[in-house]
């Protein structure tokens, strides 16, 4: 009964905070609202006995929101980030698409005859996840690792101010043709 109440409280907090992200009048407040939504979902994962993933979601998303706040200060300055703003386009079509999506997803959630539960969770779910990652599902981790490494490289290539594209500018294509682009 207690877990039922806690789940509904967390659900209301997650949805209300999610709505607040696009309703509040400053990006700083939007960041806090998104962090609150993520924390609520992370705690809901704990209710489903996903201790490791729940804690990781909370920690990762709080950190991510902190980085987002830094970006807002960096790009817009501290005051614009706290000042009222409304920068939207196609508000009405976006609203229609999102409501339509919710109706379809909700109908699927309610109308589909979901099967009954198969099997029981392991006694120690964190250990079972660790064992899966290190044994039967190691290929998944072996795939995720190079993807993350490629992300680091790609993000640096894009973000560096003195990258190859900035250095050569409009001459990039011409100089590549003559084999001198990589100097």
């Amino acid at each position: 009964m207690l877990s039922e109440i806690v789940f509904w409280v967390l659900a209301v907090v997650a949805i209300a905070a999610g709505v607040a992200v696009f309703r509040v009048d400053s990006m700083a407040r939007a960041t806090y609202a998104l962090a609150a939504s993520f924390v609520a979902v992370g705690l809901a994962l704990l209710l489903l006995d996903l201790q490791f993933l729940g804690v990781m979601t909370v920690l990762m998303m709080v950190m991510e929101m902190a980085i987002m706040a830094i970006y807002m200060i960096m790009f817009m300055g501290m005051n614009p980030a706290l000042m009222p703003m409304s920068m939207v386009h196609g508000k009405r079509p976006a609203l229609l698409v999102s409501i339509g999506t919710f109706v379809v997803l909700a109908a699927g959630a309610v109308l589909v005859p979901w099967p009954t539960r198969r099997g029981a969770p392991a006694a120690d779910l964190v250990t079972s996840l660790g064992e899966a990652v290190m044994h039967s599902k190691m290929l998944v981790m072996l795939t995720v690792s190079p993807v993350l490494f490629a992300t680091i490289v790609a993000a640096l290539v894009l973000a560096l101010p003195r990258g190859r594209y900035d250095r050569l500018g409009p001459e990039l294509r011409h100089r590549s043709r003559h084999g001198r682009a990589d100097r």
């Binding site: 992200v21 079509p93 999506t101 909700a106 899966a132």
Partner: protein, 100 residues
Amino acid sequence: MTLETVLLVAAALFSIGLYGAISQQVVVMVMMGLELMLNGVVLAAAGFWWFLSPAPDGQVLLLVVLTAMTVEMAMGFAVATLLHRSKQSDMTDMATDLAQ
């Protein structure tokens, strides 16, 4: 707490995020919309895992979704940095020439 209620909450989060991803003009706000959509996906995946088949495989899938969130965040911030440096703006409308 049933699978249906968890999926309804997840659908609400996904739809709110979709609204933000479509309607917002600032790149960082679009990223917030995408993050909210993935937040719904995480909750739905956790619900499926717990109520249908609580095997370790489902936890690995959740781990992959969290990785996707990390990749999206890193690339989003990199594109925002690039856009700000080249256009002195962080609005999506200023990035239409990226498609060319």
